[in-house]
Subunit: 266 residues, 2 copies
């Protein structure tokens, strides 16, 4: 296979990164993808930078062994702790994270009211979004809130309308009406709630979905590098635990059936 024909490797702590894969498939329908979810150790969002980095390196190694032309870190926590190190380790294979593209889009949209980053504990305290936004716009007012219950909520088998609305409003408390008008979804689970978040916030707000911005970024970069494929379109899945749960919950994120998942050990 020539380099262009190789698949793109995508990894995440579990199912959340499937929202990024969904956007990648829509933007790049002729590419092959291999998705790896580290379900045996999810979530990454509450773990330390050292541990998340160790896990990310193991997931990335596994994908590199399978020969991929590019790597996408489809997990905000992992991207925030490991992008630079993985990019150095696998050079010249390009490695893309979800932080930069989201931060860039938010900076295009921002006004004086500022930017609100909604993410996991790890992503908020690691402050990668904050650094990335400030490097592009040193004047930006940045707020960040960890929304841990949204992660669990997204992975519940059934979403009850009443409690979902309560939890959406709960983490947006204090930011409605007078809050920053640009809201960045800095966790791959959160696009599932994007319509509800938009409805709670109202029309004056811009919601930036880092899954969409990442897919656009990866597509543009691969085109620039002459690495686009026109003969693919296959997706294969690997998970480190619970293949049945991965498929059934993952389908809510990917919005299509998940078949042929293989189990791997990292």
């Amino acid at each position: 296979l020539s380099t262009e024909e190789l698949p793109i490797g995508v990894f995440d702590s579990g199912m959340g990164g499937l929202t990024v894969l969904k956007e990648l498939c829509q933007r790049l329908p002729d590419e092959d993808f291999i998705y790896l979810g580290d379900t045996a150790r999810l979530p990454y969002g509450t773990k330390s930078p050292q541990t998340v980095h160790k896990y990310s390196m193991q997931a990335a190694d596994k994908l590199m062994q399978m020969k991929v032309k590019a790597l996408v870190i489809a997990c905000n926590t992992a991207a925030s702790f490991s992008l630079d190190k993985l990019a150095t380790a696998y050079h010249p294979t390009p490695v893309y994270g979800v932080i930069e593209p989201g931060a860039e889009k938010a900076c295009e949209k921002v006004d004086a009211s500022g930017i609100l980053v909604l993410a996991t504990e790890g992503t908020v305290s690691g402050a990668a979004y904050q650094r990335s936004i400030l490097s592009k716009n040193p004047e930006a007012r940045i707020y960040a809130r960890a929304c841990p219950l949204w992660v669990t909520l997204a992975e519940q088998r059934q979403q009850d309308d009443h409690i979902t609305w309560n939890l959406i409003e709960y983490y947006l408390q204090g930011f409605i009406e007078n809050g920053p008008k640009t809201v960045l979804l800095g966790c791959t689970h959160f696009p599932l709630f994007s319509p509800m978040i938009r409805e709670v916030l109202g029309e004056a707000y811009t919601v930036v979905d880092s899954a969409i911005t990442t897919a656009n970024h990866v597509a543009n970069e691969l085109e620039l590098k002459g690495l686009l494929n026109s003969n693919g379109g296959e997706i294969s899945f690997m998970a480190t635990d619970g293949l049945g749960r991965f498929s059934s919950i993952g389908e809510q994120f990917l919005n299509t059936k998940i078949v042929n998942v293989s189990e791997v050990d990292l």
Copy 2:
């Protein structure tokens, strides 16, 4: 050291088991304890039986290497998948789980309305409580509900009253008024919400806390075996990741300061 003077080893996927340790310390103030929380891989409640068993075995091995006189599996999911195998593997060192003592107490209390087991996804689908209850009372009507958001809620740094009440009521829906009158808290995180659960359910309900029943069971068994210590009272802590988070969140579970946590790798 004579066998009686050795510490009791206690392990859990993370902080939840500290509710069991709290009851153990209250019931057995003169014992030494070593607590191990596998924070690098928490939670266990959404993982497969095979993976949970692998992790439990590694945690138990670590404690056995440190010379303990007894092991307590202070995690319902781990106890439900691994108690029998660990008891066989470490015989004659006694291994205690949290399932049997809770099931026994619930069977003492049960009436015709039945028993409601509140637990993690893994504990509910593994059905160890259901089997244990039926082995003692084949006529018992058993209901079980997975409450995944309670686990995340218990590990949030701040508990907002309004959303906590909403989430307590959410998983009890359908069981208030006409539900089973014996309610078994089958996850070590849930004692944190025990007062609220009792208030939502009302006085006609009996809430069985498996942390308390386990502490009583372990105390009785060690006494029967002549393994009680009268010179101890020290607790040491180990965690596999995020020592700061372990201490700060763990204090809510243990209800006392956590100092001197060491990091271990499993």
